[in-house]
Every structure is written in structure tokens, then in C-alpha cells.
Amino acid sequence: MTRAIRHTAAFSFLLLVALLVNAVRVQVLEADGYNANPANRRASIVRYAQPRGTVEVGGRPVTGSRDSGGRLRYERTYTEGPLYAPVTGFSSQLYGTSLIEHAEDGILAGTDYRLELFPWWDRLTGTHRPGGRVETTINPAMQRAAYRGLDGRKGAVAAIEPRSGRVLALVSSPSYDPNELSGNGASVSDAWRRLNRAAQQPMLNRALRQTYPPGSVFKVVTATAALESGRVRDLDAPLDIRDPYTLPGTRTSLGNPAPGCEDAGLKEAFRLSCNTVFARLGVDVGLREMAATAERFGFNDRGLRIPSPVAPSTFDTRMDPAQLALSSIGQYDTAATPLQMAMVASAVANDGQLTPPYLVDKVTDAGGVLVAAGARGPTQQVMNPATAEQLQEMMTEVVAHGSGRPAAIDGFTVGGKTGTAQHGVRNEGTPYAWFISWVRKKDNHEPVVAVAVVVEDAEAEREDISGGGSAGPIARAVMAAGLR
């Protein structure tokens, strides 16, 4: 019997060993799969168990956290939701995150490895670090000025500090309140559905994610190409381009809204925004040179992040001359985000140097210890400083004696360019009003702000080809706020 008892004992131990082996399978070998299973709520419970780190504007938090008392404990709050929604994005327990909330999620949720003090120990004990702080480059006064200027009309504003690339204002209108999306209740899914179905598309970030035909403001790029290629050397020498201009290879003729283009020099043509001149110049410069210039400004760049991805602005690289002519005046397939056009103004103002824009100034841990400075890309030379100087002169002329007059600010040098972009089938849509500009002190060459404004519902200005009446005052308000 002793032998049989020993066998049964061995059998019992075998059962316990089988349990242990199986436990190793579940808890070690297959654990990652179970932990990553979307139906496993642990990740979200841990994620929302502590207040989320704050996003700050001008040193003051614009986000907070609310203890919901529920299983997913802390919900995001926004102090001025609609104003900063194009900057912060939303952080929703149901629908994830967007924009900075998405790009800096690891820091805000406290999971980023850079927040760990003693990585090995933290991981062993499962310690969760409190969420860090994200300081943005936004200037609250400029943001507010832009938001107020758009006043709920469809449109967007992007403003940059030309030397550094800091994004000073980023507004999309109409906006939405990300507070509505924070939690996980039925009201959140209702709000999500409503916002996504709304005809006005309030959750579309028009400053970063929407491209518009730039229309006449693209003439800055065409002028750059014409000067850089040597096609135009003297700003005042008449160019003798016929008005109307027949697009090469077609019978379509292009006209101008105002007289005086036929014998205008480049500067005058720029002030009058002559379509004939810039269409012809674009054709003369050639496709390759036009595309290269546009790309130096940042067109066709799919990789731009600030740190949220920016929709690529486009300038076609395969066109016939007629299409190139239209593209050179910012029509046909040419399309740009407001941020892209702010970069164009910025490069001109900054003597031809383009500093990639960025939105996150710095990232610190909860106690304020620096974790990382915002990602600054290398500055690129878009054009000769001499060319930039000529363009500055031309843009200043537009504000001083042209369609950009609404953007003028007493005591400062302001350069600008207006634009009205046709769009829709046979250009029947309401035209978009554009305005790009920059400002500097009279006694100082350093530009303070470069800004791009687009207003979609510029119905009242249909006759006003300039766009200056609608978008100009907004640009002025934003620049003025930046000068204070």
C-alpha cells in the first residue's frame, strides 16, 4: 500500500505543478496579449485613475480634471473649450484624444518613460507617475483676438513668430466645446454624433487640417520664383503682359478685376493683384522652378508636425502650361492650409529664412522639472535675403496703398497680401477671403508676427476681389494683440 500511496501523493503534486505551469502561461507567456485585449478595461481604469496633466497657455492651465466618482475616475475639463479646442484637441474616455492631447498623451497621462524617476523600480512596483505639464507657444491675447475676429464665421487663423517658429495663435471657427466629449456617458456619444454630423464641421481643425485654394495670396510664392529665377530684376520695370491673357494652348482668356495691369511693373502688379501678370510669370518661370519654390516654402510636405500632423499643402508637379498659369495665381489644384500661408508670410518677413512652426514650447513633469523642450526644426533658406527684401517692399506697399489697408497699424511696418479664392464647380461657390501679413517695428528689422487668415463665408465681399475687407481686420487685430 505504501507504494500506491506514494503514487497518489506524486499524482497530487503533479496536479499542483500543472496549475503552476499553466499560471506561468497565463501570467507571463501570454500576459501581453491579455493585457492588450481591447475588452480588458484595466488600461483605461489605470489611465483615468489620476488627474490628467495640464495643457498651459501663457503659463496658465487651460485644462483641468474632474473627479467623476465613476470607475473611470477623472474626466478632462477645459476652461475655455471652444477658444483653445484647435490647440488642445479633446481627451475623451470614449473617443480617444486629438491634437496636443494626442501628441503629448504619454506625458499628460503620466505613462511616458521620460517621467520615470527610477524606471526599473517604477516598473517593478507598478508606480504611476502623475501627469506632466505641456506648455504651449500660444499667446492668449492673440488667440482671443483671432477667435473674436472670426466671430463664429467659418474660417481659420494661424499666427507664427517668424524668427523662432513659435505658433502664436491657432484658431478654427466655428469651434466646439471639448468638455462635451470628456466623459463616457450617453451625453458624450450624443455630442460626438451631433458634432460629427453638424454641417458646419466644428471639429474640423481648419487651421491645420483644411486646405483651401490660396488664390491671390499665392502670388507671393510666384513673385518669389520670378525674382529668384531672374525673370524679373527691376520691381518697377513694366512687364508688358497683355490684358487679357490667353492661357497657353487654350482659348480661355484670363482678365483682371482692375485696370492698369498691362503696363505695370512687378510691384504695381502685386499691389493690384494682376492675375494676367502672375499667370504669365509662372509660365515663364516654368513648372520645375515654380514647384521647387513652392516646396521650399513647405508645399507638398507630408511630414510637417507641430507636433500634430499638418495636412500637406499642394502644388502640382505635373501640369500643362495652362494649368501652371492658373496654379501660379493660386487656383487649379493649388491648395494650402492657413498654417502654410502663415509660413509663407513668415519666410518673407524673416529675410527668406523659414523656421518650422511648433506648438509645444516645453514639457515638464508635474513638479515643473523640464522633461523636454519643444521640437525645433532647422531653419531653411527659402530665398535670397535680397529677394526677401524686395518682397517685403511689395507687401508693405499693399498695406500702405493697396487692398491691405485695413491691416495697417500706426507706428509699425506691416506687409500683407490679400486674396479671394474661387472654388466649387465653375467657381460658383462663395469665394474664400484670404489675408496674409507680417508686422515689425519701424526701427527694428526683426518681424514680430506673421499671420494668415481665411474666411470662408465672405459673401458680403463677393465683389471685393481683395479679401482685405473681410480677413484684413482680423489679421490686424491678431498682430496688434501680438505687439502689446
Partner: protein, 466 residues
């Protein structure tokens, strides 16, 4: 050899037992020290839960420690007085398991403030330790039980049948509810039936072992002795299938096969047992929708997620174990409450696995192995077949029980509801486990106690009965 040394050696020989038969030490001091350790660990667990939940030290910590310590001390005194040679590991292991079980239930109560279970479990644990003391004090010799084997079988069967006449709870008719109390008589039946099996097999083991026809190398049991065996099997399995408590049904059958093998040493019985178990399982899982569902859950634990119903209990349990990893999240810091229903009873191991990790789970399995191993050790130390078989049965009970439920919640085998010994919420289970430990203490006392010196005159006197 110097003179004083020779004198010392002679003196030692004169004072002690014969050199071939040294008395085993009583080791009661070690038991007391281990008990104190067990109580200390349990109180630590209690305090850690409090800290993890950002409470100060829980107000009940001192009372809990004093209560558990006092009970342990009483049990120790009973053992010291009435079973002085008992295995010193049995009682501390049981106290530690029970103490940690209370900590886990207390910890899970924090997630369900409306439905606290720890106070009742504490009362049942007290009752259990009281019964432990009663058994150790009143039952002077385990062989007394042999005389009541038939009565045990009758009462055991009765206990198993009675709940059929009470309303089903969560689909199983295994409860008796009266006056606010609910007990699971099937738990007590386990011990009674084991006593009967041990007695029956001790009496008939020769007939079972040495009769029957040979088929090749297998010797099949004779029909005459097979009859009662199959009858018992049919009754217990039939009753339990009616009650839909399949875990316990499996357990009874397992115990019976184990004891049959231990009594006869015949692999033929194992073959018969495995065949019967396989046939029974296949038939039941094909016919019974409840069991069928359990098998499907086991094969496809995530089917509910794919079907959009969210993770089922088994999936949640696997998530909990995986979340624990090697070192666990720490007591009080896991999310095993996501399992929901039965988190404190059938699925309590998931909380252990998540919060104490694979390391803690290994420690727990070692504790169970100690309890089981000490039972088998007692079985090997005895010379009477009934005592040995009883010890084997009582050791195999927790082993099988741990395997069935722990294997079920970790996805090793299909899940069947069963209490994890000492850990899971459930009064009847905890009381039964204390009775099992009491019987093992009693048997191990007999196994380790010095035996009357063999009479050198008697020929063929058993020497070292091992």
C-alpha cells in the same frame, strides 16, 4: 573511547528508546512559532490592503489580529494537550490560508461596500476552528470513525439529497436556506463519504486487489466487489448532476478512484476510473446545456467579446491573472472586481493572482502542497489501513479541489464552481476544511507518536512499519 564518553553513551542508551526506534520530537514549539508567523503575515496583509486604499491602518486590524491570534492559540493548546505528536506544519498552514483568505475577502468587500462578506466569513472561521478544537479534543482515536462508516454514508447521502428540495440558487440546488443562514451540506458530505470510502476499501481491499480476471497485464476487478463501487458512483454522480453541482461530482469520483488505487495498488482500477470519468464527462457535457456551455467557454474564452457581449467571467479572470504578471499589482491595487459575480468565492484566486502575481500564486500552491504532503506523510506513517486510507482521502480532497477550481479559473480545464480551500468565501467550506485539518492532525498524531516498544520475544513483530 574515554571513560566519560563511554559512560555518556551508555546512559543515553539506557534512558532512550532502542536506537532503531528513536521517538519523533513533538515540535510543539515550532508549531507555536509558525502560528505566530501565520497570524503576523495575515495582519500584515490586512494593513497593506488599508494602506493601498489610502486609508490609514484599518481600524479593525488590531481586533482582527487579536481574534485570529487568540483562535490560533486555542487551537494550538488543544493540539498540545490532546495531540502532542501531531505534525507541526498542519495547523499553521491552515491558519495562514484562512487568515489570508479573510484578507482577500476584506479587500474585495472594499469594492462592494453594500455587500460585505468578511464579517460572516470571520464568524464561520471561528466556528471552524471551534470544530477543529472539538474534534481534536473529543476524537481520541481516528479508528472510532471506522465503526460509524455506514452511518457516515447514510448521513452523507442524506446531506447531498436534502438541497434538492430547496430552491435553486444561481442554477445549482446545493443550498439549504433557513432563518437567514445558508449552508452547503454537500461540503460536509465530502468528509463523511471519504470516511465511508476509507472504511469500505480498508475492509475489502484484499478482495478488490486479488480477485477478478486478467486481460493481458490488466487484472479486471471482480463483479462482486465492483457492484457497490459502481452503485456509490452512480448515486453521488446522479444526485450531483440533478443538483447541477458538477465540480463536487467530479471531486467525489476522483476521491473514490484515488482511494481505490491507494487501497489496491492496481492500475486496472485507474483504467476503469478514467474510463468511467471520461464517459460520464462526455455524456454530461453533451446532454446538459449548462456543462456544455462551460466547455465552450473553456475552449473559446473570448467568444463573448467577438460576439459583442463583452468579456465573460473566464475572460475577465484571465485578464486578472495576466495583469498580475510575475510580481502582482500589490494587495488592494488590482481590478479583479471586473469579474463581478462570484469574485469572492469561485474566482477568489484571480484576485490573488492579480495582486500577488505569479510569485504569490507559487507561494500559495506551495502552501497547499505542504498541507497535502503532510497528509500523505501521515498516511505513510500509519499501520492501520483505515487510517492510511482516510489520510490519503483527506489529503487528496484539498488537492483535487484546488486543481478543479484553480484549473478552472486559469483556463486549464473547464470551469466548475467550487470553493478554493480556506480562501474562498463560503461558511460550509471553511468549516469542512477545518474538520479535515483536525482529522489530519489526529491521524498524524497517531502516526508520529512513539509506539509501544516491540516485544523482542514475539516473532515477526513489525519492525519499522514504513
Amino acid at each position: 573511547m574515554t571513560a566519560p564518553a563511554a559512560k555518556r553513551a551508555a546512559g543515553a542508551r539506557a534512558a532512550g528508546a532502542p536506537p532503531s526506534w528513536p521517538p519523533l520530537p513533538k515540535r510543539r514549539g515550532i508549531e507555536l512559532a509558525l502560528l505566530m508567523g501565520a497570524v503576523f503575515l495575515s495582519v500584515c496583509g490586512y494593513v497593506v490592503v488599508g494602506f493601498a486604499r489610502a486609508h490609514p491602518v484599518p481600524s479593525g486590524a488590531a481586533g482582527y489580529g487579536a481574534g485570529l491570534g487568540g483562535l490560533a492559540l486555542l487551537a494550538h493548546l488543544a493540539v498540545r494537550l490532546r495531540a502532542p505528536y501531531a505534525d507541526p506544519l498542519l495547523l499553521p498552514t491552515a491558519v495562514l490560508l484562512n487568515g489570508l483568505g479573510l484578507v482577500l475577502i476584506f479587500r474585495l468587500d472594499l469594492e462592494t461596500p453594500a455587500d460585505p462578506a468578511a464579517p460572516a466569513q470571520l464568524v464561520w472561521s471561528t466556528v471552524g476552528i471551534g470544530l477543529f478544537i472539538a474534534v481534536v479534543v473529543l476524537l481520541r482515536d481516528h479508528q472510532t470513525l471506522q465503526r460509524y462508516a455506514n452511518a457516515s454514508a447514510a448521513v452523507g447521502l442524506l446531506l447531498m439529497v436534502v438541497p434538492i428540495f430547496f430552491p435553486a440558487v444561481n442554477g445549482a440546488r446545493i443550498w439549504i436556506r433557513a432563518a437567514g443562514f445558508s449552508i452547503q451540506p454537500g461540503e460536509f458530505a465530502k468528509v463523511l463519504i471519504t470516511v465511508f470510502f476509507a472504511a469500505y476499501l480498508a475492509a475489502n481491499r484484499n478482495a478488490l486487489a486479488y480477485t477478478g480476471q486478467s486481460v493481458g497485464r490488466l487484472r479486471l476487478p471482480a463483479g462482486r466487489v465492483l457492484g457497490p463501487v459502481v452503485t456509490i458512483w452512480l448515486i453521488s454522480v446522479g444526485v450531483l448532476v440533478l443538483e447541477r453541482d458538477l465540480g463536487t461530482s467530479l471531486l467525489f469520483f476522483g476521491i473514490f478512484v484515488v482511494l481505490l488505487y491507494a487501497a489496491t495498488g492496481r492500475t486496472g482500477w485507474l483504467a476503469v476510473g478514467v474510463l468511467l470519468a471520461a464517459a460520464g464527462s462526455a455524456a454530461v457535457s453533451a446532454v446538459e446545456p449548462h456543462v456544455n456551455g462551460r466547455v465552450r467557454d473553456w475552449l473559446h474564452p473570448f467568444a463573448g467579446i467577438a460576439a459583442g457581449r463583452g468579456p465573460g467571467q473566464l475572460a475577465q479572470s484571465l485578464f486578472a491573472f495576466a495583469a498580475g504578471g510575475v510580481f502582482g499589482t500589490g494587495l488592494g491595487q488590482g481590478h479583479s472586481y471586473l469579474i463581478g459575480f462570484a469574485q469572492k468565492s469561485d474566482f477568489i484566486l484571480a484576485t490573488w493572482g492579480e495582486e500577488l502575481g505569479l510569485a504569490g500564486l507559487t507561494a500559495l500552491l506551495v502552501l497547499y502542497a505542504l498541507l497535502v504532503g503532510r497528509g500523505y506523510q501521515a498516511a505513510l506513517g500509519l499501520r492501520d489501513p483505515f487510517g492510511s486510507l482516510l489520510a490519503v482521502g483527506l489529503a487528496a480532497l484539498p488537492a483535487l479541489q484546488v486543481f478543479v477550481i484553480a484549473g478552472g479559473v486559469t483556463g486549464l480545464i473547464p470551469l466548475t464552481g467550487m470553493a478554493l480551500p480556506f480562501l474562498a468565501q463560503g461558511g460550509s467550506s471553511v468549516v469542512t476544511n477545518w474538520i479535515i485539518v483536525a482529522l489530519l492532525v489526529r491521524i498524524s498524531d497517531r502516526a508520529r507518536a512513539p509506539r509501544p516498544a516491540p516485544d523482542p520475544a514475539a516473532p515477526g513483530a513489525p519492525g519499522g512499519a514504513r
